[in-house]
């Protein structure tokens, strides 16, 4: 009798364990493998240039389709004509999730800001940045003016104010905001 009972307890133990195993491995705990998704990745930045008084558009892009890591990004040189003024709009794309990130930034314009820093001697000046709802610089649209032929670079930074507090006087390294995008292009004015 005692021995039978012992075997019964063993069987119960094993049974309870199998139950635990099967209930723990239900669907919720084993999500079917899905492709990874950096759900806010920016894979492409496009700069759309329209020369004043002209309808033709030039587009230069910074592209990293596999996101961070993996292959290095492809960066086109920005080639502009000397002595011109261009209306420039920036476009950020998430090709993984097929989203236009620029739309999100427009919706939350008071918490975002683009900074354009041309290198010295690049013969490019950036002005006329568009503004957010509070009248503070946003920078989705801007005007680039070129001087005489030169080579240089353009540093573009998108800052995000997760806690708000954006002000006109904030520098690109202000401690209230953090970096969403930080890229550089080679520029050629010819």
């Amino acid at each position: 009798m005692k021995r039978n009972f012992k075997h019964l307890m063993m069987a119960l133990t094993a049974g309870a364990y199998l139950f635990a195993l099967s209930s723990c491995s239900s669907d919720d705990n084993n999500p079917t493998p899905e492709e990874e998704n950096e759900n806010e990745v920016i894979t492409k930045v496009e700069l759309h240039f329209k020369e004043e008084g002209s309808d033709t558009e030039r587009v230069f892009s910074w592209s990293d389709p596999d996101g961070e890591g993996g292959d290095n990004p492809t960066i086109e040189d920005i080639v502009l004509d000397a002595g011109k003024a261009y209306a420039v709009s920036i476009k950020l794309l998430d090709e993984v999730n097929d989203e236009d990130v620029t739309e999100e930034i427009e919706e939350e314009d008071i918490d975002h800001r683009f900074y354009y820093t041309p290198s010295e001697g690049s013969e490019i000046t950036v002005s006329n940045l568009d503004q957010d709802k509070n009248g503070i610089s946003l920078g989705i649209n801007s005007t680039w003016t070129t001087g005489s032929p030169a080579e240089g670079s353009m540093h573009i930074v998108l800052r995000h104010y997760a806690e708000g507090g954006k002000q006109e006087s904030d520098s690109v390294t202000d401690s209230k905001s953090s970096t969403d995008a930080d890229i550089s292009f080679t520029t050629k004015v010819q």
């Binding site: 999500p31 759900n39 961070e68 975002h112 202000d174 401690s175």
Partner: protein, 749 residues
């Protein structure tokens, strides 16, 4: 010295395996002839309790002089089946002859409401690895994460321990005692305990009929944190074999305050419960345990780093911007982490009489970790990363009865693990399965305690990564690891114990070390694993000295250790080879192997010159060296000392066990860091200055009703000192917590 012989009152034969308890603390077991010896006893009066499965319990008081022989006879129990019996085993870890440090009783009560790592850091040799004030991991002798196994109620904790920001998913209120060991007993749990093992031990289930319980409550002023924990257990009189326990804890804290500012989004919320049920008969027992742990922890919003420039700017300013330090709300916002851990365990033991005891333990764990980052689009609601790991483990072991003075265990264990991820890539999906076998023996004679053991494990890992828009990538790994250990303890007279322990442990690289590939936002680095990593192999030798005079007025515990680790896995920054991303360039940091050595001293000395005063001095010193580069290792705890003075009040009718004390911990600046002039810059900021704190505690037991209420009033960082700790990754951004006054109540029924 106490010798004795125990016989059956009817047959007059010697009885083997009788447990002899002396004052409830020291213990011995009779050999096959019924003889026992206890060498290390001071003169004095002792209560001797003898217990055995088949005999009536015997209690005797003796007055021990120099040495003594004791003859006892026990009467057999007629009806064995109706008895509930306390089995006379030597508690396996109590007999540990390697390094063993325990936190229990009043010391543990003083840490109630703190995290597991904070509680353990009261022990010499244990420090904390922190990500802010709320994410803490225990560090033992400079090692942490996968190098220190955590055993939660007998089950090897399998969550996401590999990450620096992944705290152990354990409610410390479950524990009746917290123990850190290094030595033969670690082989029960794995061959990979290079740093040691942390045991979270609950109280055994009650086997006296009735209802017992405990209610703990605490409040901390710094972050307005309150914690409530309750436990109730019953052994129903009608069912003598059954006993069960229910336990639960709830904890909620607001933003942490440094001396000068508050840290936004550092609230936390934690809710845990557990159920234990046991069925105990003379021939077998069985225990079921289920626990659920759930936490949501906010991460200081000023620590969210977009890229390297942001990090360097944050480091350059001596305090965070005002937008990150003005909030007062309890609400937890992004970034935060949410973790749930479930554990179910079934354990049974069958007492096979002369053949010993057969143990079977089956466990299943499920860990669900979600990390919510700051996102550009406020409308997104899901986590940016989710890791789900399920672990099943089976352990079968056999404790054999004494054989020529040897007692031991032979065991077999198997484990299967399955990890899934969603969102951002950090580590791949993997399944792993491991099998292991171990054999431990211990031998006790006269002044000697000797333990030895060996273990072998084999592990197979199958990983698959599912990159966006590309074919899945799979890798397979196989690792075999061997471990062995030999410990010896020798008693000199009644006051001194010396012990020498040596262990070989090997640890297979974890999946994150093999296959990490991505940005670590907390440190603005791009982490890369290495698939060619080999298992780490560590030779650990320790020498221990304990002294305890007979009046218990002078106690000393000193241990020296030397851990010689080959193929030590660490992260090497490669500042000249950055990874270009949309958020700018990130410095690359890769997993590499080197040969390392970690040596150190832990010491504590307690002195009680009068009945009312006691002094306690502690020291922990560590030197961690990279033998290949001939340089110090990064991220190791600095030397620390502490001095405590307590005054014990005389009891009166209402207040008993009252005391008041001051503790002054001193932590030195870590000056032993990699030399920048030889191997380049490896850290963004030099280690912070050393610091001296002042903590005070007043405690008492109030006896007014039927049961006493314990009250402990503590003040940490009483002088509200501004300081930063090298092992806290937030030392880049913020000061440590300022003054924190707490009050704790404990009611036992």
């Amino acid at each position: 010295m106490l010798n004795g012989h125990i016989t059956d009152s009817i047959s007059k034969q010697g009885i083997a395996d009788v447990l002899i308890l002396i004052n409830g603390t020291q213990r011995a077991i009779t050999d096959e002839h019924g003889d026992f010896h206890i060498t290390h006893l001071c003169s004095g009066t002792y209560q001797i309790v003898t217990t055995h499965v088949s005999y009536r319990r015997n209690t005797k008081s003796i007055d021990l002089q120099e040495s003594m022989h004791l003859d006892l006879s026990l009467s057999p129990i007629a009806n064995q089946l109706s008895q509930v019996v306390i089995h006379g085993e030597r508690s396996p870890e109590k007999a540990n002859t390697g390094i063993r440090k325990e936190l229990s009783g009043q010391q543990l009560d003083q840490t109630r409401g703190l995290s597991l790592a904070e509680s353990l850091s009261k022990l010499p040799g244990v420090t904390m690895l922190q990500t802010g004030a709320n994410i803490t991991k225990p560090v033992f002798h400079g090692l942490h994460s996968n190098r220190v196994l955590t055993i939660n109620n007998g089950v090897r904790q399998e969550g996401q321990q590999w990450g620096n920001e992944h705290a152990p998913e354990i409610d410390p209120f479950i524990a009746d005692n917290l123990v850190v060991i290094k030595g033969v007993d670690e082989l029960r749990y794995g061959s990979d305990a290079i740093g040691g093992v942390i045991l979270v031990n609950p109280k055994p289930l009650a086997h006296q009929p009735g209802v017992n319980g405990e209610v703990n409550a605490g409040y901390f002023t710094n972050n307005q944190q309150y914690v409530v924990s309750a436990m109730a257990e019953q052994q129903p009189e009608a069912l003598p074999a059954l006993s069960y326990r229910l336990q639960g804890t709830y904890k909620h804290g607001n933003n942490v305050r440094t001396p000068d500012y508050r840290l936004n989004n550092t609230s936390l919320e934690e809710a845990n419960f557990s159920i234990t049920a046991g069925w105990k008969k003379a021939a077998y027992d069985i225990e079921a345990f289920y626990s659920h742990f759930q936490t949501k922890v906010g991460i200081f919003s000023g620590s969210h780093i977009g890229n390297l420039t942001d990090l360097l700017n944050a480091i350059a300013s001596d305090r965070p911007d005002e937008v990150y330090t003005s909030g007062k709300a309890f609400a937890i916002e992004r970034p935060y982490q949410q973790v749930a851990h479930d554990l179910i365990k079934l354990k049974s033991a069958i007492y096979t009489g002369n053949a010993g005891k057969l143990n079977l333990q089956l466990s299943a764990q499920y860990n669900d970790r979600k990390e919510y980052d700051i996102v550009r689009n406020n409308a997104s609601s899901g986590p940016q990363m989710r890791l789900d790991v399920g672990t099943y483990a089976e352990d079968l072991s056999w404790d054999h009865t004494a054989f020529h003075g040897l007692r031991g265990t032979v065991g077999f264990s198997a484990m299967q693990q399955d990890n899934q991820y969603q969102g951002r890539y950090l580590i791949p999906q993997y399944t792993s399965s491991s099998v292991g076998a171990y054999w431990l023996e211990s031998w006790h004679k006269n002044r000697w305690d000797v333990q030895g053991g060996v273990r072998f494990d084999s592990k197979a890992i199958h990983t698959t990564r599912y990159p966006y828009n590309r074919e899945p990538i799979s890798y397979n790994f196989n690792f075999s690891t061997l471990a062995s250990s030999l410990n010896a303890a020798y008693h000199i007279g009644t006051k001194v114990k010396l012990n020498l322990a040596t262990s070989l442990s090997s640890r297979a690289p974890h999946v994150n070390e093999l296959l990490s590939d991505g940005i670590h936002h907390g440190t603005a680095t791009y982490e890369l694993g290495d698939m060619s990593l080999k298992p780490e192999k560590a030779w650990n030798t320790s020498l221990g000295f304990t002294f305890n005079n007979c009046a218990n007025t002078l106690q000393a515990d000193i241990s020296l250790y030397y851990n010689h680790i080959d193929h030590f896995i660490f992260q090497q920054p490669l500042p000249d080879d950055p990874v270009l991303t949309i958020a700018g360039a990130f410095p690359k940091i890769v997993y590499q192997q080197t040969n390392a050595s970690l040596k150190g001293i832990d010491a504590s000395v307690g002195y009680r010159p009068t009945k009312n005063w006691d002094l306690l001095a502690k020291a922990s010193i560590l030197r961690a060296y990279n033998r290949d580069l001939d340089d110090w290792l990064i991220g190791m705890p600095s030397d620390r000392y502490s001095l405590a003075i307590n005054y014990h009040f005389n009891d009166n009718t209402v207040l008993k066990n009252s005391y008041a004390g001051i503790e002054v911990p001193a932590v030195l600046r870590q000056t032993r860091v990699p030399d920048e002039s030889i191997h380049g810059v490896q850290d963004y900021k030099a280690p912070p200055a050393g610091y001296l704190l002042c903590n005070a505690t007043i405690g008492t037991q109030v006896h007014t009703g039927h049961q006493p209420i314990q009250v402990i009033l503590s003040g940490n960082n009483l002088l509200n000192k501004r300081y930063r700790e090298y092992l806290n990754s937030f030392r880049y951004f913020t000061d440590e917590m300022g003054r924190n006054i707490s009050i704790r109540f404990k009611y036992t029924f």
